[in-house]
Symmetry: C3
Subunit: 208 residues, 3 copies
Amino acid sequence: MGSSWILVAFDLAGIFVFAISGALVAVRKQLDLFGVLVLACVTGLGGGFLRDVLIGVTPPASLADWRYLLVPVAAGLLTFVFHPTLGKMEPYINVFDAFGLALFCVTGAAKSVEAGLSPIPAAVMGMVTAIGGGMARDLLAGRVPVIFRGELYATPALAGAGIAAVLTYYDGPEVVAAFCGGSLCLVWRLVAIRRNWTAPLPRGPASV
Amino acid sequence: MGSSWILVAFDLAGIFVFAISGALVAVRKQLDLFGVLVLACVTGLGGGFLRDVLIGVTPPASLADWRYLLVPVAAGLLTFVFHPTLGKMEPYINVFDAFGLALFCVTGAAKSVEAGLSPIPAAVMGMVTAIGGGMARDLLAGRVPVIFRGELYATPALAGAGIAAVLTYYDGPEVVAAFCGGSLCLVWRLVAIRRNWTAPLPRGPASV
Amino acid sequence: MGSSWILVAFDLAGIFVFAISGALVAVRKQLDLFGVLVLACVTGLGGGFLRDVLIGVTPPASLADWRYLLVPVAAGLLTFVFHPTLGKMEPYINVFDAFGLALFCVTGAAKSVEAGLSPIPAAVMGMVTAIGGGMARDLLAGRVPVIFRGELYATPALAGAGIAAVLTYYDGPEVVAAFCGGSLCLVWRLVAIRRNWTAPLPRGPASV
C-alpha cells in the first residue's frame, strides 16, 4: 500500500521531468502552445504507451487514469511560461531526468515480466519505456534522436532494466528489484554525465 | 439504421478529404506513385489506427472492412493524376478538411468512451483521431507537423471531442453528442481559417 | 515440423539482412554504437512489430522468443566493426534483401489471415511487414523513406502478399502459398534491381 503510493509518486515525478525536457525542445524549435503541450505529453507518456501497446496491455494505464494526463500538461504550461528560467536550470534537470530514467526502466521491466515476457525481452522493454518518450519527442521535433549521438544514456537504462527484469522474473521482492536496478541505472547515468562518458562511434570512413 | 448509414458515409468522406491532403504533400515532395498512395492512406486512416491501437480495439475497423482501404487509394490516384487542379482548390479542401476534423474528433471520442475510457482521456483520444493522420503524414514527409506551427487546428478538435465524450459518457443520445461536438469543432475551425486565428507562441528568446 | 524449422530459419535470415541494412544507414549517419544497434533492431523487427500491433497479436513473436532479439543485435555489432567491408558488399546485400522482402511479405500476409483479416487487408499487412522496418529506419535516421523515391520496392511485396493472402484465405497449403507469393515478389524485385525499373512520378509542376 505505502510502497505502491511511493511508486505512483515517483512515476508522476518522472513523467513531469521528462515532459519538461520535451517542452523545452518545443520552445527551442519555436513551436506554438499546442506543439509545446504535445511534445510534453509525448515525452512524458510516450515510452509507457509504446511498451503497453507492444506487450498488449491496452488501454495504457495513463489513459485509464486521467491524472496521468494532467501532469505533462501542467509541465508543458509551466515551461511555456517560464522557459527562460527553466532553460537555464537544464544541468539540474538532467539530474532529475536521470531519476526518471532509473524509475522508468525499472517499472517498465517489471510490468513486462508481469505481462508474461521472459527476462531479456522484458529488459529491452524496460529500456524502451525509459528512452521511447525522448525518441518520439525528437522525431516530432524533426531531429535525429539525441541518444544516437554519443551520449551514454540508453546503456544504463538497459542494465538497470535487466537487473529488475531478472529479479522480478525469479520472484524477488518488488522493492529489491526496483532498488537494485534503479540504483545501478541512476549511478551509472550520473557518473556518465559528470565525466562526459560517451558511447563508441564507428571507426573509419563510412562507404557511400 | 439510417443514422449509422450516414455516419459511415461521413466517415468515408472525412477519410477521402484527409487522404487528398496527404497525397498533395507527397506530390509537392516529389515522391513517386507509391509514396503518394502511402501518404494518402496514412493521412486518411492513421488517426483511427493510432486510436484503435491505444485503446486496444484491434484490428482497427478500417482493416476489418476492406472498403475503408479503397477510399484513400482512390483519393491518392486522383491526386496523382489531377494534382495541378486539386492543388489550386486547396482553400476549398481546407473547408472539407474542417468537416473531416469535426467528424473524426466526435467519432474518436465516442469509440473511446465505448472502449471504457473516462471523458478526459476519451476527449484526448478524439483529438488524436482527428489530428494523428496529419501528424503521421508530416513525419513521413520529413517535416515538423504543421499543426505545431501556429495554426489553430487541434484546439477545436479537442473541444468538440470533449463535448462528445462527456455527452456519450453520461448516456446522451449518440446523434446529439455527435451534433453538439461536431458543430463546435466545425464552426470554431472555420472561423479560425477565415480570421487567421493562431495559437500563442512562447515569448522571449529560447535559451540554447 | 521440418517446414516450420525452415520458415524460422528463413525468418531469422531475413531479419539479419534487414538489420545489416539498418546498421549501415546508422554508420553513414555517424551514429554511435547504441544508435547502430537500435537501427539494426528496428529495421529487422519493426515491420513485424507494426503488423502484430495492428492485428492485435501482442506481445509480438519476436518479444516472446528472445532469440529473435539476438539476431539483429549480432548483425548490428558485425556492421559496427566491419562496416567498410559490408558497405562495399551492398549490391550483394540488395539481393539478400530481396529474399527478406519476399519472405516477410508472405509470412506477414499469412499471419494476418490467421488473425481473421480478409485477403485485401491481409495483403496490405503483408506489405507493411516487409517495408515497415525500412520505413521506421529512415524515420529514425532523419530522412524521407527511400521507398517513396522511385525505386520499385513495395509493389512486388504487395503483389506477393496478395497471392499469399488469397491462397491462405481459401485454405491453400501453407507451402504453396508461401512459394507462389514469395517467388513472384523475389523475381519481380530482382528484375527491378537489374533493369533499374522505377515507380512513376507525378507529372507537371506541383502547385505551392
